[in-house]
């Protein structure tokens, strides 16, 4: 277990706009290994939701199977959660979203859950631009079954047992961009400064928001020779930008050099301010992002930050033209055409 959570809370804990303290956003005690990257991501989700004053019950957490998929129990205890079957979180999230468009959907998955058994569903949920936050807690290995290589393990990466992975890695961020994901970010579980605003921006994005978070497995993949260890990631990380999530529209005050700051307006009027560090990269241009990722890979760098965003494309509800009332709120009078109509239908079959 990672840590023991004290039941006691300081009475003067800060409250958010809804009057909740961070406590209302926490979950049960984590049963993951001490130092697991996943727990840091859970903590970042708690902080992001608290700071954004999201009503906890207006969030649904859905996951597949694996260490990462256990985490929804460890954050947002006042939200409904659904630990479904291996690799099938996207379909459950799709059905849930169709039922009620007025909630925030957090999909939590791992590299085994998304890049192997669930690759088909990962690909198709992107295609449909489902309005959800999709977090992959990516540690390059199967933790719950004791450390086998996953499909995101880099070629040449050495496991704890000493074997070298002979296969090429699937780069989920590149793949998501290629498939037309409308929000793609990459981060590191150890970088809360970057992760929290990314989660906030992802929640505001109306469409599919993908976060690929490198999250070292302390037990099975944190050894020398692994490319998903804390040490390796820290040494090879390359931020594309620093990012601020701006909840309202303030006057633009920037200290950054002209031409290096980009603002992206979200559907709900909020803004993302990106202060670019990489000059050859434009977050609204898929080709530029794809190139930047390829270049980084050849240099063994892990590009982080908000890599790509597109606010133009319709999400799935938009594509299907569903009504503004959530489908699960509709009653008989909305749904059943009634006896008289049925008489006409019967007449048509005579």
């Amino acid at each position: 277990m990672s840590y023991l959570k004290p039941l006691f809370r300081h009475p003067k804990l800060p409250k958010n706009k809804l009057g909740y303290t961070q406590k209302e956003y926490e979950g049960s005690l984590s049963t993951l290994c001490a130092g697991c990257g996943h727990d840091s991501i859970s903590a970042a989700i708690v902080q992001a939701c608290f700071e954004m004053s999201v009503e906890p019950h207006k969030v649904a957490k859905i996951s597949g199977i694996g260490c990462s998929s256990k985490t929804p129990t460890y954050f947002l205890g006042n939200s409904h959660g659904f630990n479904s079957v291996h690799g099938r979180m996207p379909s459950v999230a799709t059905g849930a979203s169709m039922a009620n468009k007025d909630m925030v959907y957090f999909g939590v998955s791992g590299d085994g859950d998304s890049a192997s058994i669930g690759m088909g569903q990962f690909v198709h949920v992107i295609r449909r631009n489902l309005n959800m936050v999709y977090i992959v807690m990516n540690n390059g290995c199967y933790g719950l079954t004791k450390g086998q290589d996953s499909a995101t393990a880099d070629q040449g990466s050495r496991s704890k047992a000493g074997s070298v992975n002979p296969f090429q890695a699937i780069d989920l961020a590149s793949l998501a961009i290629e498939l037309g994901a409308t929000f793609v970010a990459q981060s590191f579980s150890g970088d809360k400064q970057q992760l929290v605003p990314l989660i906030k921006a992802a929640m505001h994005h109306k469409g599919f928001a993908f976060l690929n978070v490198i999250s070292p497995c302390v037990t099975f993949n944190n050894n020398p020779g692994s490319t998903k260890s804390y040490d390796y990631v820290r040494e090879h990380i390359e931020a594309t930008s620093t990012l601020d999530f701006v909840p309202e529209m303030p006057e633009i005050k920037t200290n950054y050099e002209k031409g290096k700051s980009t603002r992206v307006a979200m559907h709900d009027g909020t803004l993302i301010q990106l202060n670019k560090l990489a000059t050859d990269w434009n977050p609204e241009d898929r080709v530029s992002v794809a190139n930047a990722l390829q270049h980084a890979r050849t240099k063994n760098e892990i590009l982080t930050g908000l890599l790509y965003v597109n606010t133009e494309w319709k999400d799935l509800h938009g594509t299907l033209s569903t009504c503004s009332t959530p489908l699960n709120k509709l009653k008989e009078t909305d749904l059943c055409p009634g006896t008289e109509v049925l008489k006409e239908i019967n007449a048509g079959y005579r």
């Binding site: 959660g81 799709t94 569903q121 509800h317 033209s321 489908l327 909305d334």
Partner: protein, 612 residues
């Protein structure tokens, strides 16, 4: 020659993709409009264009809607299958063919009548457009049949008018083609034939529709809002019907906003996942599939059973295993569906037999799924789903309310103590659930496929796991009381022998019952409409010494379930089976029953001899 009125079988031999379907449908519908019971069946290949396809129409004054062996009239417009088609005609029957080309000598049989109509030649002379020539050739044979069988021409003309409403040119061309066929018969043959039609008033307010349309419409009336599916024969038209009626009745004409969401999923696994996600979140969601899809959905069905999430699945069964014969019918997913998924699982099944029941049971399945918080599978099949059937009209009580089951709202959560998602408060095995988003601090819970306690907290405590599994069996007992009851054909038993059947075996079983009776063998009958079996089924089995279980699969699947679930002596349940992909016939049922009864007699005889 003896005359046979309103009792014959006609088979059309066509090439698929040549527009024969609408001509054949026109023929069948005209007979329906003449007030005469009619059963059309498509026998088609797993192919889009160029292979043989047949359309068989049974006309039965007595109202028998099952398939019968023996073809009285064969209309041949497909040279590919001609040799086989000629062989299939009953002695004394008729073979109508396109005499544009001379019939090869080996195709002549002494014991049947030949009716050569130069369909292609007439069509080529009358029409210039090649596509029209091909399509209207089919209408020419309808015209010829109209004369030969004494059909009511005004009904055909009316149907053509309805089909091509507002398209005068097409109506005129079709009428012209009909007349060509009629005139040719008038000039060349004696008519009507010994098999022919006479107007009756036997249809009353019944409708002619396929089961898949009825399931799709039933889902609209039942309040389904989310449909996820993956294309598979023979279930695809369920999704199409649902979409058609939703577009018509659930779309705002001004804004175009829709009160439904239909997703064509990437596979059946995803389709079932979406259905579960939607139901978990308080919407009525369903899918339609066939056997291979149910195989893929197994893992999710187990999750829905264990995590207690409602779901509705329409299984339009086809001939398995594996890809099997995708365009042929069978009742062979029964065991797969009843015990889908690993671990101890049992699922509720309903068995519609008519389009009326397809509509009713699909709608009711949403109530059952939410009442019982478990998947409900509607077990229909290709024969019922894709063929038109005469049926009682669809019925909906204007006052009917959806039964949304045990769901707590925010106010109720305020007033109860600690909420236990898997706590059996009422003693019926059904716990209370909440929808996501109900209350800021109360009623949230974690849904999972792993074991948990009454408060939905993860646990590996064997006692808690067992308590939960036992509660699911309490719920199973509750299910027995709420699922559709079996239909009994008699108030009091009249015989030691019973016959038992379900779904599309019904029509032929009813006919077989009458035939047996004519032969002096009285049998009692029961039609199963759901699994788990209710008390009335147990009573029926216990009160008969022999029960023939009629079904359309090799392994007598429902019989196995009766042995397992009712602890019945297997020796008293005699399987009566058909599994060649064609709908079961009354003759097949009658023959198997007679064979068994005779064998029994012989055995008794032999035994008594030995005893002496």
């Amino acid at each position: 020659m003896t005359k046979t009125v309103n009792d014959f079988i006609i088979r059309f031999a066509n090439v698929n993709g040549t527009g024969s379907a609408s001509a054949n449908y026109l023929f069948a519908k005209a007979i329906f409009r003449m007030g005469i019971p009619v059963t059309p069946k498509n026998i088609f290949p797993s192919n889009i264009q160029g292979l043989p396809t047949w359309y068989e129409v049974r006309v039965s004054e007595k109202g028998y809607l099952g398939r019968r062996e023996g073809i009285d009239i064969l209309v041949s417009v497909n040279p590919q299958s001609m040799a086989q088609d000629i062989k299939s005609v009953k002695p004394g029957g008729y073979f109508m063919y396109d005499s544009t080309k001379k019939l090869p000598t080996p195709y002549f049989r002494e014991d049947i009548h030949y009716l050569g109509v130069p369909m292609m030649e007439m069509s080529n002379e009358a029409f210039s457009d090649p596509r029209k020539r091909q399509l209207l050739k089919n209408i020419i044979y309808v015209g010829a049949l109209a004369k030969l069988l004494n059909m009511d021409y005004s009904e055909i003309e009316k149907l053509v008018g309805e089909q091509f409403e507002g398209k005068k040119q097409l109506i005129d061309a079709n009428i012209q083609a009909l007349k060509l066929g009629m005139d040719y018969v008038e000039a060349n043959f004696d008519y009507p034939l010994s098999f022919h039609l006479e107007r009756r008033n036997l249809i009353k307010d019944k409708i002619l529709v396929d089961g898949n349309t009825a399931c799709g419409l039933g889902a609209v009336y039942g309040g389904a809002t989310v449909m996820a599916w993956y294309p598979i024969t023979p279930s695809t038209s369920v999704a199409e019907a649902f979409e058609h009626y939703c577009e018509a009745y659930r779309t705002d004409p001004e804004t175009g906003e829709k009160k439904f969401a239909i997703i064509q999923a990437e596979d059946e696994l995803a389709a079932m996942g979406m259905v579960i996600g939607a139901n978990w979140n308080g919407a009525r969601g369903f899918t339609a599939t066939s056997g291979p899809g149910v195989s893929l959905m197994n893992e999710f069905l187990g999750l829905a059973y264990f995590a207690e999430v409602p779901a509705v699945l329409v299984d339009v069964q086809r001939t398995g295993p594996s890809t099997g014969m995708p365009t042929r019918t069978q009742q062979s997913d029964i065991l797969l569906a009843a015990y889908a998924s690993h671990g101890d699982t049992k699922h509720v099944l309903v068995f519609p037999a008519t389009p009326h029941e397809c509509f009713e049971m699909t709608a009711e399945s949403f109530d059952l799924a939410e009442r019982l918080q478990t998947p409900i599978m509607v077990m229909t099949d290709l024969d019922l789903g894709m063929n038109d059937h005469i049926s009682e009209p669809f019925h909906w009580d204007q006052k009917r309310k959806y039964d949304r089951g045990k769901v707590l709202n925010a106010e109720e959560l305020e007033h109860i103590g600690r909420f236990g998602r898997y706590l059996d408060v009422d003693g019926d095995g059904i716990p209370y659930r909440t929808y996501p988003g109900t209350h800021p601090t109360k009623g949230s819970f974690f849904t999972r496929g792993t074991s948990r306690d009454e408060y939905a907290a993860y646990t590996e405590d064997g006692a808690a796991y067992k308590r939960n599994m036992d509660r699911l069996m309490v719920k199973w007992e509750t299910a027995k009381k709420v699922v559709p009851k079996a239909h009994l054909y008699q108030k009091e038993n009249k015989s030691e022998i019973g016959i038992l059947f379900y779904g599309t075996s019904t029509f032929s079983a009813e006919e077989a019952k009458d035939i047996l009776e004519e032969n002096g063998i009285i049998v009692d009958a029961i039609r199963i409409r759901a699994f788990p079996f209710g008390e009335e089924v147990v009573q029926f089995i216990h009160s008969h010494s022999t029960v023939f279980v009629i079904e359309q699969n090799r392994d007598a699947q429902l019989r196995s379930m009766m042995i397992m679930e009712l602890e019945t002596n297997p020796a008293k349940l005699i399987p009566v089976l058909n599994y060649d992909g064609m709908p079961i016939t009354a003759d097949a049922i009658k023959n198997q029953i007679l064979k068994h009864l005779n064998l029994e007699n012989t055995q008794h005889h032999e035994l008594s001899k030995t005893a002496l």
